[in-house]
């Protein structure tokens, strides 16, 4: 079974802090994604990566950056956390060229106070 893990289930940070969210997958998938999930807005793509050191902006990249130094790990970085970044963050991975089934981690609920 594919396993996607996220470093924290719940996280509370203060405004202005630098925040790192980590995602690790164990199936050698090339493509990885970061989404945020908000009530009434569904899932929105922040960034994705299709290879090590490669990244592309999604629909809402402002205020975020990412890092992919190893194939299995994809990090989401909030350079200076703000209250409007309070949300659920979901990581997903998929094998390149497969049938689009993305495998999701359990999510990190981030609260910025």
């Amino acid at each position: 079974d594919v396993k996607v893990t996220q470093s924290s289930r719940y996280l509370v940070k203060r405004t202005g802090e630098k925040v790192f969210l980590e995602c690790v997958q164990d199936m050698d998938h090339e493509n990885m994604f970061w989404y945020r999930q908000d009530p009434g807005l569904g899932l929105r793509l922040i960034y994705f990566s299709y290879d090590v050191k490669m990244k592309e902006k999604g629909d809402i990249p402002e205020g975020y950056s990412v890092s992919r130094e190893k194939k299995e790990r994809f990090s989401l970085i909030l350079e200076s956390a703000s209250t409007n970044q309070t949300s659920m963050y979901l990581c997903a991975s998929i094998r390149a060229g497969s049938s689009y089934e993305q495998y999701f981690g359990p999510g990190t609920r981030l609260t910025v106070t």
Binding site: G42, L43, A92, E101, Q102, P106, G107
Partner: protein
């Protein structure tokens, strides 16, 4: 560009009643459609998918969805729901580079 519309944000239903969750899509590339389910405090899991072939696709727990090209729809149905089906359901359409565009979700609340 791709987009997905889920018209119902919440659907309350009694146990053993039928249910339909509606999904309409638009896509400028080949149409691959998905339903994902999110149980409380969990990530998303794939429920079923349409890639090609038969327009009626089924899940292992009794859900089914029908791809209707003329109506650009992919509605999810179950003839008799169970309390354990209470969850949020997301419809999604595939785009380029393995990306998915999700709808805003429908919360299915099953009560006795």
């Amino acid at each position: 560009a791709q987009s997905v519309t889920q018209l119902d944000s919440q659907v309350p239903v009694f146990e053993e009643a039928p249910v339909e969750l509606r999904c309409n899509y638009s896509s400028s590339v080949s149409v691959y459609l998905f339903w994902y389910v999110q149980y409380p405090n969990q990530g998303l899991q794939l429920l079923l998918k349409y890639l090609s072939g038969s327009t009626l696709v089924k899940s292992i727990n009794g859900f089914e969805a029908e791809f209707n090209k003329s109506q650009t729809s992919f509605h999810l149905r179950k003839p008799s729901v169970h309390i354990s089906d209470t969850a949020e359901y997301f419809c999604a359409v595939a785009g380029t580079a393995s990306k998915l565009t999700f709808g805003t979700g429908t919360r299915l609340q099953v009560t006795l």
